[in-house]
Symmetry: C2
Subunit: 654 residues, 2 copies
């Protein structure tokens, strides 16, 4: 709908309509400061400290945020966009599961991604466990074009286009049975990297747990990104076979370390849990060793070996064998303490920071040392699979005492690192160039997992804000039943000390990881132009109609309805078919004005699509239930929105 | 996870850990007011007015809101809980569609509701268009126990239990093909009322549009609520056949008007759109008449006639025929101008306020007059279906000039009404006992649909807050693509003038209607007690296990796994079955501590359930894909959460 004439007219005439009546109004409070702040505070029981905190976070109505967090939705299967500093949630983007508001999974074009492309072993999988979204990068900087997310539960990667905040591709990994360290990008988004989590035979075969060491494996998959198409190119992708340790978080090198990828791991014990015997469960079985292995991968060398044909084919994927990777210097290990989890490359690309869940340090490796040791083949041994191992001390820049349970580390522009410390429930600030100096710990509420900083994973972090991504909110918000929201806490890092300034409950899913991008880097569109654009091809659909071209075509039991959509009617609005007909609605929203969105639903047929301005959509179904089915606009589009309706009549078989 | 020992210990020792370190910390800002407010404001570019607005809305970190909005999620198919005044979204509750975080629709117990009970015409329908949530009432007051929501697209009603914010029942209406005026409750929740929207033959039969007047009908369904069971009792429910006008919003009477229900309607023109001919589309075809009919239903009389057997059976529902309803005084009409939409009974039960989308008035009917006219059979005629019509003027209390496009009206405790005015984009405050007095109009941004007030539909509104539920947010928030969030605006109504104090983007779905309840009326549970409780029966499942009772039982190709779940392992954690086995996991979360939630997923099998503390869940599936499938905890539950995993091994057929 449009900004209505009344406020515009009033503005033109200089007439005041009261507070906050237009987009440029300064704020919604009493004009002229007539209300006394102290009086308001007294009424609301607010202290000075409360008001300072409010003032520091508040984004006045109608003003826009400076940053956008793009967070994984965890097992909500989606992506979450949050404005910073206001901490308003701006949008949930459906990725691995159906979502009817966005018309995703209810008969429209997106169904191909969701129900076909994303299948694993021939099975439809309609949820995902999204862990680590990663923004596309150009020269190590977020470029605001795409974001990639992984599905831990079902080893899939999705591409979300930030032009329209829509999922455009889902790729199922045919090698591994779960992933975790993904979707991380190389500095020019050459590759989207996905690493496995729980080992299993590559390619999905069966093998008993007694054959774990021989037949179970991990893998790092390098998905080639074709930026011109905005899609992953499966055929140009490859993978590297890894030992059956649980690969974990990963990060790509940049600058000096460009061409390298670093992957944490745990469970070098190769515990598969009890195995139904007297073995310990995985929580203790996998926590025996003091060190697991940071995987150091030379992906440019891997690329050369792949080009040279040194791969084997597994389910259509080119896989560089573990023995080759180990022998050719593609894969090298260095120890990392203790139950490692986070793995983050510093903005200058010179160091890699890892955190151990049962450790008290952030461990910092010096990339120059790592590189030199590898070049010199200065190894202290090899693991059971022949992978060379660097000496821990020789590779080290240092270890920073942090507290119990350091996980993930993000960065500002001044050399400071901010590490999430799960067991202590703190954010610890320290300097990766001055290891051993005093640190600052800020308590958070409670049990912080990941952490994100303004442009914090890029080559040039902004400082300014850090957000602690805490797990279950407990008492921080009103009770809404046993299943608790997570709790994001906004921290101001501009001052001499970190300051906690806002709590945001997450009302859906369990975000794991997020990136925070400068808002002005996002170049979203408002309408699809020209009218009739298919959002999955970015071209006008051959089935789109212009006004006057609407029609119903019948060929045997196939009925194609070429329908235009405009405020407030569908043309045609009456469609009569015979039971059993294959009906296809080709829908063109002819509007080109901002916000002239409609929806299109057919009652009782599980069909609903979203028709943003200019969008082409297509809905196909077999009209197998006879009767009278209202069809209507599902997006409140005008005063006569309820009247934007018609009927599908399905005549019963004689 | 638990509040960890470090902050508790520090508190016990009186050691400061910095700002906001415990639930009782006053706020997250600099201690002792060391930071200067003006300096902060200058840094952030905030005016005095901004800060006053911030202070008025801000709920400091760790403090709780006073009210909770329960809003429909529109075609998101869900329900949204929002804290007021902080306007933080606390939870999305899945209702008509699957949602994996809540483990709803991915193999668990809730699947029966979602995929079986809710079928229409034998078809699975996995979304809904939720319009009008209504809280259960006791003596006309919200009691905080249940909330009922309708699915406009597929004519269904759901019951959500506010004890655990979980959908417990979905009922498919077998009479009508869409609904709108629902789910409204009578003052003691005797009935949950659902009225149809787009007319169609009752019971789902086919009839061509040429038979619209004869064979198409509406209906009001009175679903009997059994509070002791917390479920609708289908067998004790009934419906009233209505003419084929589009029934719309509805409300139940209270006090003097208890026993009555009022339903707006539009399209007394009986436009079915173009019908594929030269007729006008519905938007103009249904906008010809100056008046449509407010439906006035004496439901206590209807109840008596139903008991007396005056019903016919349609698809198992007792339906009071239109002719009987018209003849026996159950159904009476009075004109309502122009394209009516909202229909709201005043808190004292003495008046009914209706708004016409193309009108400029709020029209107020005096119930005492209505009742007397009906008692005296003082009718000015009957419609084509024999329904008696009251004289508009005789039934009127008055008409308040409001502005263009009045929709819905809510109330405070002082006789004030707050009407949403769509075309003007305003909230207009007026007094239903002083019609004709000056009104106050507050511009909102933009295109307000519904409106909600603190306890505003109850017998005793609280005043204090009104929330404008505006449609597409346009420029109010950062761009996140062509599909825009809706925009809720919080309005302070305690002062002499209404004040707009906060904008909240709605990141998912398109809420239509909401109710706002005092937070302390919600009695949510934190854990299911005792351990092993089935949330759908509120009893301990016979399949729950205690520690030590875990086992795997095999009977032919049927495998039952009785599994306990506790931080951080599943027992058993290794399950080997044969391809084709019917596998059932019986899962008991043995924890009884607040927040000890786990999830349970099996990779590649589209299975995920949520296991809040004490909950029993059950997952059944055919192990038709051979291979090695990790199973793991999907809710971040402890430092060793990643280690909370095991394997399902499916041995291939020989």
């Amino acid at each position: 709908m449009r900004i209505l004439a009344v406020p515009l007219l009033a503005a033109a005439l200089g007439v005041s309509l009261g507070a906050g009546c237009g987009p440029d109004a300064p704020g919604p409070s009493a004009p002229g400061g007539a209300v006394d702040l102290k009086q308001v505070m007294a009424q609301r029981g607010l202290t000075d400290a409360d008001v300072i905190a409010a003032a520091k976070t508040y984004t006045p109505t109608g003003k826009h945020d400076e940053y956008v967090i793009l967070a994984s939705g965890g097992h909500g299967g989606n992506l979450v966009a949050i404005g910073v500093p206001s901490m308003r949630i701006l949008k949930y983007v459906a990725v691995f599961g159906p979502e009817p508001w966005q018309g995703y999974g209810y008969g429209g074009l997106g169904d191909k991604l969701l129900y076909e492309d994303s299948k694993q072993g021939g099975k439809q999988i309609t949820w995902g466990d999204v862990h680590h979204p990663n923004l596309s990068e150009t020269n190590g900087e977020y470029d605001g074009e795409f974001i990639f997310v992984n599905d831990k539960a079902n080893a899939r990667i999705a591409v979300v286009d930030l032009k329209d905040f829509t999922t455009k591709q889902i790729i199922a990994n045919r090698l591994v049975m779960s992933d975790h360290g993904g979707a991380f990008v190389t500095p020019n988004t050459e590759y989207v990297v996905e690493t496995s989590q729980y080992p299993a035979p590559l390619g999905g075969a069966y093998a008993p747990l007694s054959e774990y060491k021989d037949k179970y494996r991990g893998a790092a998959t390098f998905w080639k990104f074709d930026r011109s198409r905005g899609r992953i190119d499966e055929a140009a992708s490859f993978a590297i076979e890894l030992p059956p340790y649980s690969q974990d978080l990963a990060d790509a090198g940049k600058f000096d370390s460009d061409g390298w990828v670093f992957i944490g791991s745990w469970n070098t014990e190769m515990s598969a849990g009890t195995e139904g015997k007297d073995k310990p469960p995985m929580e203790s079985g996998a926590s025996q060793n003091d060190m697991d292995y940071l995987h150091i991968i030379d992906w440019k060398k891997a690329e050369q070996l792949v080009q040279a044909g040194k791969t084997t084919d597994i389910n259509g994927m080119r896989v560089l064998p573990l023995a080759t990777a180990a022998a050719e210097g593609v894969l090298t290990f260095v120890g990392e303490p203790k139950s490692p989890h986070g793995c983050d490359v510093t903005p200058d690309g010179k160091a890699i920071v890892v955190g151990g869940k049962l450790d008290t340090h952030a461990t910092v490796f010096e990339f120059a040392k790592v590189k030199e040791l590898i070049a010199k083949k200065d190894f202290e041994g090899r693991d059971a699979y022949g992978v060379p191992i660097l000496n821990f001390q020789k590779a080290l820049r240092g270890q920073q005492e942090i507290g119990l349970g350091p996980l993930h580390t993000v960065f500002d522009e001044k050399g400071n690192a901010y590490t999430s410390v799960f067991l202590d429930s703190t954010v610890v600030k320290w300097n990766y160039n001055q290891i051993g100096q005093p640190t600052e710990a800020l308590p958070v509420h409670y049990n912080i997992g990941h952490i994100t900083a303004a442009e914090g994973d890029s080559a040039s972090p902004d400082g300014r804000y850090v957000v602690a991504m805490n797990k279950m909110a407990q008492d921080r918000h009103l009770g809404v039943g046993p299943l608790l929201p997570q709790n994001f806490q906004l921290i101001d890092i501009t001052g001499p000390k970190m300051e906690l300034i806002y709590d945001l409950p997450i009302p859906l899913g369990e975000p794991h990881y997020a990136q925070m991008i400068k808002a002005d880097k996002l170049k979203t569109i408002q309408v699809y132009t020209p009218a009739g654009t298919d959002p999955y091809t970015d071209e006008v659909s051959p089935h789109a109609v212009a006004a006057g071209g609407e029609r119903i075509e019948r060929n045997g039991n196939k009925v194609d309805v070429y329908m235009s959509v405009i405020r407030s009617h569908f043309t045609p609005d009456t469609i009569e078919v015979n039971q059993g007909d294959l009906v296809t609605f080709h829908l063109t929203n002819l509007e080109q004005a901002f916000d002239q969105t409609h929806g299109f639903a057919v009652d009782m047929y599980n069909l609903n699509v979203s028709l943003e301005p200019g969008k082409y959509e297509r809905v196909s179904f077999v009209a197998d239930r006879p009767g009278v089915f209202p069809l209507y606009c599902t997006e409140f589009c005008s005063a006569l929105h309820l009247e934007m309706a018609g009927y599908l009549l399905v005549k019963p078989r004689a």
